[in-house]
Amino acid sequence: MSKQINVALIGNPNTGKTSVFNALTGLNQKVGNYPGITVEKKEGICKLPRGVKAHIIDLPGTYSLNASSLDENVVIELLLNKNDKDFPDVAVVVSDVENLKRNLLLFTQIKDLEIPTLLVINMADRMEYKGISLDIEYLEEHLQTKIALISTRKKQGIDNLKQLIANYKDLSITPCLNASEIDKNYFDSLRKAFPNQLLYKLWLVITQDVNFGKTDRKTIDAVADFKTKSNTDLKRLQQKETIKRYQFINNVLKKGQNIDVSQAKDLRTKLDRVITHKIWGYLIFFAILLLIFQAIYDWSSVPMDYIDSTFASLSEWIKMNLPEGTFTNLLSEGIIPGLGGIVIFIPQIAFLFLFISILEESGYMSRVVFLMDRVMRRFGLSGKSVVPLISGTACAIPAIMATRNIESWKERLITILVTPFTTCSARLPVYLIIISLVIPKGRFLGLSYQALTLMLLYLIGFSAAVGSAYILNKILKIKSRSFFVVEMPNYKLPLFKNVALTVIEKTKSFIFGAGKIILAISILLWVLASYGPGDNFNNAEEIITSQHRDTPLNDDELQQKIASYKLEHSFIGLTGRAIEPAIRPLGYDWKIGIAIVSSFAAREVFVGTLATIYSVGSDDEATIKNRMAAEVNPILGGPLFTFASGISLLLFYAFAMQCMSTLAIVKRETNSWKWPILQLVIMSGFAYVVALMAFQFLK
């Protein structure tokens, strides 16, 4: 077996750390989760010179080892735990040449843990543009490290970096700052109490509220003659530590770095004048939103239709070519459509992440956060909540994953909880068919009533999200400092490789994460719809055939009648009947009830379920529509889909939490069943009440 070394990539956000990771590992990477928490863990393999293999782990971006979020905790937990299987043989600190001073803060901290540390200075191609020159030899000498000056954009210096990683044993482990300089008396007593421990490591254990396998912390608390300081004192010392570190860095950079301001070009300020302008800024943002919607609805409809028909014909093919039986039915009616239900979302999710990663890579997203913060704060949200709320109009699943960079847990939780109110694309088919049934064709000021209704539904979704955020903000008693510090990175042209890898990786994580659940639910639904208790279900064929002995029916019609009778007496049909009393006040019959129940797997199932129930052979919407229009209300008489029941149904779908995959993601992101269950109960309960009032008021 060849030797494998552990390499940890560490760096501030926006330094191109992920580009370095991608340059080193290419497609040899996998993304998972750290056990028990939802922080992404990115690992990859890189071949180094002389046959050495490196296992590279891309740690979450952090500004320092003083963690303020789950993601950042991961970094110190790894660096302080020598027994972790991923504990690095060498730490590679990635910095950005334009922000070297700030980036070096983290470098000095890691160096003080006495881990062999290598410094990467990325974005070297920007040096001339910004009038920066570096004395690498001087810096290497005074920072006591090796420096790799690279440009991932121009693909320069990567081989040199690999060489330096392979030679990690030559790196010095002398610390940059003598920890006891922070507070001599305090650190002397600390040293006395724990003579065998590294001082800076002890200091981190004391100041950080993270889990270090407990023993470390306990040993410190257990020593009687050593008094831990109050939190205010500790914070004052942390501040002192930061100042000391900057003094050290300033001294080194004074000679090692030269910035000729007259040479520097400042495109950023000019762009920001327009992009964050109080009028232009919003207009540009609005235009970008329109473009994204257009792309998600329009461009993705082509591949989605293709996927839809491919899976339909695959089902058909299996039915025709495999021997008849339960297994074939399960395959063609349960598993294949279930898989189709997962795959069909890929185009939208891929497009959405394409746009989001371009906006993020280019640096534009920080500007949106900056522009929207004041507005969102009124509702207990953060400027950073804008991204999930926008993404939610495509699909709540990636939207909820996009809340991760909100530091305040309260703001993040509220965002997760309200995002499912935004009108996701799965509601669209339901809206479209019901609107065309119950809203008249007329026009108002040149706009059709139907289009206005659709727009209104989008507005209702947003208002529900923002309104419930406002309420949650008032009632949730979560202590969480909502400080807001956003780095405004430089504008950059997105790197194709980074964007492509993000899209691939997010799409994959959707398919394997949420996909499993969608598949399981569709198999369950199939079983419930295909089996039923008692004679009515088992003898459906004879019953229907004997009923229609006198009336001539062709084969197709007869088969449809049988299928529909079977469904009515299947487990799901019986469920529909059982819940009928509960939904009758809303103006629905048991068939709509079944469609609603099956919609809990995924909303767009609604149309398909009704299509089956109304025994329409084809999926053609015009025929479903005609069938629906012809349905008669069993109690009141007259058409089932009236203005009142239609509006009631629209409002029900606008508010109800009917998406298993979203619930699964909320569970994953909040690490508790409490929040998804609350979401399910409150949203659906609210939907019920509103739909009830709408029907009773309008009928």
């Binding site: 500004y63 320092s64 003083n66 303020s68 334009e98 922000n99 001073k101 700030r102 803060l105 205010t232 914070k235 004052r236 942390q238 501040q239 930061t242 100042i243 900057y246 950023r268 300020t269 920001d272 004048r273 964050t276 109080k278 800024g281 919003y282 920080s366 956060v369 900056f370 522009l371 913060d373 004041r374 507005v375 704060r377 400027g383 400092r481 400080f483 807001f484 510090v485 956003v486 780095e487 405004m488 990175p489 430089n490």
Partner: protein, 77 residues
């Protein structure tokens, strides 16, 4: 003349004179918001909040509620 960072004006250069460390996140100090460093206003968001600043070469946005805990002084050129 001392003032808080919340009242910073565009087009002027300032120097940070004091920060009340207990009131602001450590992260901000780590990004260079320390006494002695230069600060400039790049842009203000609509409704005058948050502020987009250039502190010691770091570009960042903070809310006014944080900015009032940082004291600054104008540099006369």
């Amino acid at each position: 003349m001392q003032d808080t960072l919340a009242n910073i004006k565009r087009g002027e250069k300032y120097i940070i004179t004091d920060v009340s460390a207990s009131q602001i996140p450590l992260k901000l100090l780590e990004m260079g918001c320390l006494p002695g460093n230069e600060v400039e206003l790049v842009q203000v968001a609509p409704f005058q909040d948050p502020l987009y600043l250039n502190i010691n070469g770091s570009h960042l946005a903070i809310r006014k509620e944080t900015a009032i805990h940082i004291l600054i002084e104008k540099i006369n050129e």
